[in-house]
């Protein structure tokens, strides 16, 4: 770093200069310059695998950069571990919270700062929580046990931890991925109040709507390099183009199709109990016809996950029946249900969707490795398995070093492509996909949506469980809103967000539609969606 460097670090704030980080031959960060000023919300926008998290791990001392330096208020600082990062005023709010769940909020705050004499000052910790909570309007009880708090509040505890360390620069790593729409709104309020207190907020995300809502400045990263800065007023399409590197269509191109006369997937009076024996889906009726996409919308935790598991047979259907093309599948084993023609994309792909240490090729046959083309007797036909993998990787544009790469090494979007490629590579009667694009970048979302629509066009009954209203609106032919284990109502896809939001909170269909329409009429005399009940 020479004196005459035109990009000399600014007098105040946090600056990164020429950060380069390589993993073998992969350049994860390529000479990145970044300025983060106090009192601003700086969005770091980029697809999964673009290098955002690597950069932030460098900043937080979890990774050592190969080149480049970090400057705080114009002076270079050495950040070799999180302790030094904290000392430099850098705080991190991790996507997966670093909290001890059985401890109280105050105890979590004390963690790692127990003091040299071995004394815990719980009184001081409690006071700190109360003070900070009041100052930023967090509404957190210092004596609440973390595991009993909702996810959104747990996240605030993470923020409190950073603030208690006098962090001036707060990094939020994909903070909205785990939150419900309401919690996201609350988080935005929190972030704004942090900014107004003079903190610098770095918000890492790939969700364009959130970026435009909250960012003061946007830096876009693609393939490890800064490709530009953008203004939050830029249209979403333009931001997406910067991020992905090409024009992206955010609207799903969907032609009307012929709906099959009889439902292919049919649920009658289905009740499901969760692992703890609690009834979480109650007396649910739903028909999905061939050639249509039905989206189950609802706030997380209203029984959608269990409903999906019950359709696959990993949770038992306690009462009622599920039929697939007229044949009863409830009460059968997952293997039998899969063989009957049910495709399944699990909600948590890391957990249920694939075996991370298995190769791409192996994961692409995970649920039919023992069937005719891929096995003879108990002998695996490796050539066929590899041939299948080559085909799928091409067809689904799976970005991987090779078919022998472990799936855990792929980005989230490509992992999901592996799961979807596996499910769509055999003839299906119905496809059940939960949160098909959660944690997936824009480019991949576009692709995954296209494939889901293509599957519908092939005459498959597609049932999508999603908590993202954008996705629901883009894909659905019909929307079934779920609340507390029951379906509140089935409405057409052009139903207003307000009405859907009210239904997701349990308001009956008619009332919700009327209330939303009234609100709309108050605002403008626009054409309000018809919103007739299709049930």
């Amino acid at each position: 770093m020479t004196e005459a460097d035109p990009a000399a670090p600014p007098e105040s704030g946090l600056a990164l200069r020429g950060i380069t980080k390589r993993f073998g031959s992969l350049v994860a960060n390529d000479r990145i310059d970044l300025d983060i000023r106090p009192g601003e919300i700086h969005c770091l926008l980029g697809e999964n695998g673009a290098g955002k998290s690597t950069l932030m791990n460098v900043l937080y001392g979890l990774l050592t950069p190969d080149e480049g330096g970090i400057f705080v208020d114009g002076a270079p600082v050495l950040v070799r571990n999180p302790k030094e990062a904290i000392a430099a005023g850098i705080g991190m709010v991790h996507q997966h919270f670093m909290l001890v769940e059985v401890f109280t909020v105050a105890e979590n705050l004390v963690l790692g700062r127990e003091g040299s004499a071995g004394f815990l000052s719980m009184r001081k910790a409690r006071r700190t929580v109360r003070e900070l909570s009041e100052r930023y309007r967090f509404d957190v009880d210092p004596d609440a046990v973390v595991e009993e708090l909702p996810v959104g509040v747990q996240q605030r505890v993470e923020i409190l931890k950073a603030l208690a360390n006098d962090a001036k620069f707060l990094i939020f790593d994909e903070p909205t991925a785990v939150l419900t729409p309401q919690e996201i709104d609350e988080l935005m309020v929190v972030m704004r109040s942090l900014r107004d207190e003079g903190k610098a907020v770095v918000f890492i995300t790939h969700k364009l709507r959130e970026v435009r809502e909250i960012a003061d400045r946007i830096t876009v990263i693609r393939r490890g390099a800064v490709v530009g800065t953008a203004d939050p007023t830029e249209p979403e399409g333009r931001l997406a183009e910067l991020m992905v590197g090409r024009a992206v269509s955010l609207v799903v191109d969907k032609q009307p199709t012929e709906r099959s006369a009889t439902p292919r997937l049919s649920l009658q009076g289905v009740s499901v109990a969760n692992a703890g024996g609690q009834v979480v889906v109650e007396d649910l009726d739903l028909d999905v016809h061939g050639g249509e996409i039905v989206c189950v919308a609802g706030v997380q935790g209203n029984g959608q996950s269990e409903l999906a598991d019950a359709l696959l047979g990993t949770l038992p259907v306690t009462t009622g029946t599920v039929t697939l093309d007229g044949a009863r599948i409830s009460g059968r084993s997952p293997k039998e249900i899969i063989d009957a023609g049910l495709g399944f994309v699990p909600e948590d792909r890391q957990h249920d969707g694939f075996v991370g240490s298995f190769t791409v090729a192996e994961n692409l046959v995970l649920n039919h490795f023992d069937e005719t083309p891929f096995a003879r007797g108990i002998r695996l036909d490796l050539a066929r398995i590899r041939g299948n993998a080559d085909e799928r990787v091409g067809e689904f544009d799976i970005r991987t070093q090779g078919i022998d790469t472990p799936v855990s090494a792929l980005s989230g979007g490509n992992q999901q492509k592996v799961v979807l490629a596996r499910e769509l590579s055999r003839p299906l009667a119905a496809l059940v996909a939960s949160q098909p694009t959660r944690g997936v970048d824009v480019g991949a979302i576009e692709f995954l949506h296209k494939r889901l629509v293509a599957e519908r066009d092939r005459g498959t009954a597609v049932l999508i469980v999603s908590t993202e209203l954008d996705e629901v609106a883009a894909l659905a032919d019909r929307i079934a809103v779920m609340y507390r284990g029951r379906i509140v109502g089935v409405v057409p896809p052009d139903t207003s967000r307000e009405a859907l939001g009210l239904m997701m909170a349990g308001v009956p269909t008619e009332e919700a539609l009327a209330a939303a329409a009234a609100a709309h009429r108050g605002a403008a005399d626009d054409g309000v969606p018809a919103g007739e009940d299709l049930t």
Partner: protein, 421 residues
């Protein structure tokens, strides 16, 4: 060994790799190109070798400290250091020399090593296979006892023609182990009983069962009052290569390793075993039956441990004679197997190599005791030290800087220790 070992950051995929300068505006990331296939795990090898060296160094210290003669020379170390150093060198050199001579010094010692290794390999495979399905099989001991019990019973009660008799005895041992192991899998699948508890308890049951049976008329040698059975028929004993300790059992052990490799890497059963071991949730979601896989795996693991018992029951003694069944027939094979599998990183090849190493330590340890008057327990300490260092690669890299620089080169995933559950 300096043949085609491409450096980890290999230039293999030349044209696909984007140069660090000027990011190309290409839309497609490098994909499906000739990605580096599974590289030879040099880091593993270096770490393992370093672990050995460290273990032998600590072993040398133990020897010096525990020998009163050598210790007495250290009393006047500052007056005449040469005495103490010479005595230490003598002691350590003599002991390790005897260890080496007793395990690798000539046809006799080498074949003694193979004879000692055969049961360790079999039982090690049993533990390794279970590891791969995420099951911690502590029950090798009990499964081996059952294998020995049935193989020996067939060996001394039936009187069949050569070849057939041996085959029937082996199958009986396999079935015995498979039942003992399968029972564990069944209990886990049906009742959720943890395999660690059940296998440990079944070890006691098996030992008790053997002790009891040896007092019954069916097993006890006529005319004897001590718990010992009749001697196994010649026809049911592993034939031995004349003049050496190498017997057919070693070939059977190697064959078992090949079968396990094939099963894991090339069969649908192995696919399910590995999938259930790596991520049971995803395996269940993909329609695999975790319960069924658990039962099958434990039965197979039991059969392999049972084969170790067969080796003990049907292998010839050091003087080449068939042996009777006794309470201590399997020694501590079932427990040594756990360390063998751990050292072998739960792969068939690794298990064979680890089994050979421990076989060599067993064989050499006997020589060390008789020639260099070093207690046999020192070999046990050596084994323990090797496993300790292998199981703690971070410790090795701390102690041996050379390994650390190697590690910095390859950024591969940390090798799975095998204790994953």
């Amino acid at each position: 060994m300096s043949t085609a070992t491409t450096p980890p950051a290999g230039p293999g995929a030349g044209e696909e790799a984007t140069p660090p300068t000027g990011p190309a505006p290409a839309t497609g990331a490098p994909r499906t190109a000739a990605g580096p296939a599974r590289r030879f795990p040099w880091t593993d090898v270096v770490t393992t070798v370093a672990a050995f060296v460290l273990a032998f160094l600590v072993g040398a210290v133990l020897m010096i400290v525990s020998d009163s003669d050598v210790r007495s020379k250290f009393a006047y170390f500052f007056a005449r250091p040469s005495d103490a150093l010479a005595a230490s060198a003598d002691k350590v050199g003599g002991a390790y020399g005897a260890l080496l001579a007793g395990s690798l010094g000539g046809v006799g010692p080498i074949t003694e090593t193979t004879a000692q290794a055969a049961p360790l390999i079999c039982a090690g495979l049993g533990v390794a296979l279970a590891f791969r399905a995420g099951l911690f099989n502590i029950g090798g001991q009990g499964q081996a006892i059952l294998g020995a019990l049935l193989a020996a019973y067939v060996g001394f009660t039936l009187h069949l023609p050569p070849g057939l008799h041996l085959l029937v005895a082996i199958v009986a041992g396999l079935v015995g182990g498979a039942l003992w192991g399968g029972l564990v899998g069944w209990l886990k699948a049906v009742a959720g009983a943890h395999e660690v508890i059940v296998t440990i308890m079944l070890n006691y049951v098996a030992a008790g069962l053997l002790a009891y049976l040896l007092t019954t008329t069916a097993f006890q040698r006529p005319g004897r009052t001590d718990p010992i059975s009749p001697i196994v028929d010649w026809n049911a004993t592993f034939p031995r290569l004349a003049g050496t300790q190498l017997h057919l059992g070693f070939v059977v052990a190697l064959l078992a390793a090949v079968v396990v490799w094939w099963l894991l890497e090339r069969s649908t059963t192995g696919f399910a075993i590995r999938a259930v071991g790596a991520n049971p949730h995803a395996a269940a979601t993909a329609g695999m039956s975790v319960a069924r896989t658990t039962i099958i795996t434990m039965a197979l693991a039991g059969a392999l441990a049972g084969l170790a018992g067969v080796q003990a029951a049907l292998g010839p003694s050091a003087s080449g004679l068939p042996v009777p069944l006794s309470a201590g027939i399997v020694g501590s094979i079932g427990f040594d197997a756990i360390t063998v599998a751990l050292l072998g990183r739960s792969t068939p090849l690794g298990t064979v190599l680890a089994g050979l190493l421990f076989g060599a330590l067993h064989a050499g340890g006997l020589a060390m005791q008789s020639v260099a008057q070093t207690p046999l327990t020192l070999t046990t300490a050596l084994q323990a030290l090797i496993v300790l260092f292998v199981a703690a690669p971070a410790l090795v890299t701390k102690l041996v800087p050379f390994v650390r620089t190697r590690k910095a080169h390859t950024s591969g995933p940390v090798p799975q220790g095998g204790l994953a559950s």
